[in-house]
């Protein structure tokens, strides 16, 4: 994942066609784990995303330690045992919005294809995404499911019943023109 970070920042800092980029500094990503033993939810409201409207590329980056949980203990387990946020502080997504028409007002549903990297593991994802364009402002939202085992997250046998094998992830990004 560390190799991806400089690429992400190059994408952020490239000087060309900045007028065609839009940015969400306070994107929201929430995840839910439902089991008969315990329901766990957490949200991160400071997720960064940039879209280059000239080529439909999208980049997302989030700090794993910025997820907020209901209980301090859940947060501790998440950061220290599961995602090891001191070793892997960020999760990133780099991809492309397929068949996206930035000029289209109103709502369109598109697939976003790209690579999601978390906990040192990269996975190709295809996410169905609702794109709204209202008064020139873009909002992307959607839901997808992630498998805990795909990201090399080891849940101790004692807690296996508390963590769902499939985690539901919600996201919502409100973009503004990117002025660097």
């Amino acid at each position: 994942m560390n190799k991806l970070i400089p690429i992400f920042f190059l994408f952020l800092l490239s000087g060309q066609q900045q007028q065609e980029k839009i940015i969400a500094r306070q994107g929201r990503v929430a995840f839910f784990s439902y089991t008969s033993v315990e329901n766990i939810k957490a949200e991160n409201n400071q997720v960064l995303s940039i879209i280059d409207l000239s080529n439909d590329e999208i980049a997302v980056s989030m700090l794993m330690n910025a997820f907020v949980f209901e209980k301090a203990l859940m947060r501790e387990h998440f950061n220290e045992s599961y995602v090891e946020s001191d070793i892997y502080p960020k999760a990133t997504f780099e991809g492309k919005i397929i068949d996206f028409d930035p000029a289209q007002d109103g709502e369109q549903t598109r697939m976003v294809k790209g690579t999601f990297s978390m906990h040192g593991v990269s996975k190709e994802l295809e996410i169905k995404t609702k794109i709204e364009k209202v008064q020139g402002k873009y909002i992307l939202s959607g839901t997808f499911e992630a498998f805990v085992k795909d990201y090399d997250i080891k849940v101790p046998p004692l807690l296996a019943g508390n963590i769902a094998k499939t985690i539901s992830v919600d996201f919502r990004f409100e973009y503004q023109p990117y002025e660097s």
Partner: protein, 132 residues
């Protein structure tokens, strides 16, 4: 019996840790927003360790309630697009009503790291002065 009660109390403390009371916590670092962002711009990302309790002062760029969270953005410098994002504790909403963009404010919060901006959670107003 007393030993059992004490043991249970200690175990409870280990397994159910209390969240940090930021209002009472003493800042480990005192900074202003522009200094913090300039370190970030100079690729000095290790300048500030994550999870430190920081007192940060700066000029308010924006106050918003996106995602139903009260958030203050502090300016990162005259020509900088980067800023400091402070996610406020819910009990700070009333105190925030007195503030507007361009005011100077001092906040206390937990530093989480850098993306394009510096990110702080659990922020509270620790001292303020309004620009004339």
């Amino acid at each position: 019996m007393l030993a059992l009660v004490i043991s249970l109390f200690l175990l409870w403390g280990i397994y159910y840790p209390k969240p940090i009371d930021i209002m009472e916590a003493k800042p480990e670092v005192y900074l202003n927003a522009e200094t913090l962002i300039s370190h970030f711009k100079n690729k000095d990302e290790n300048f500030l360790e994550a999870e430190k309790i920081v007192s940060i002062e700066g000029t308010i760029k924006e106050i918003n309630s996106l995602n139903n969270r009260m958030t203050i953005l502090l300016e990162g410098g005259v020509d900088e697009s980067a800023c400091v994002i402070c996610d406020m504790q819910t009990d700070q909403t009333k105190g925030l009503k007195k503030f507007k963009p361009k005011d100077t404010i001092r906040l206390k919060g937990v530093f989480k790291g850098f993306l394009k901006d510096a990110i702080f959670l659990n922020c509270v107003i620790s001292q303020r002065k309004i620009n004339e």
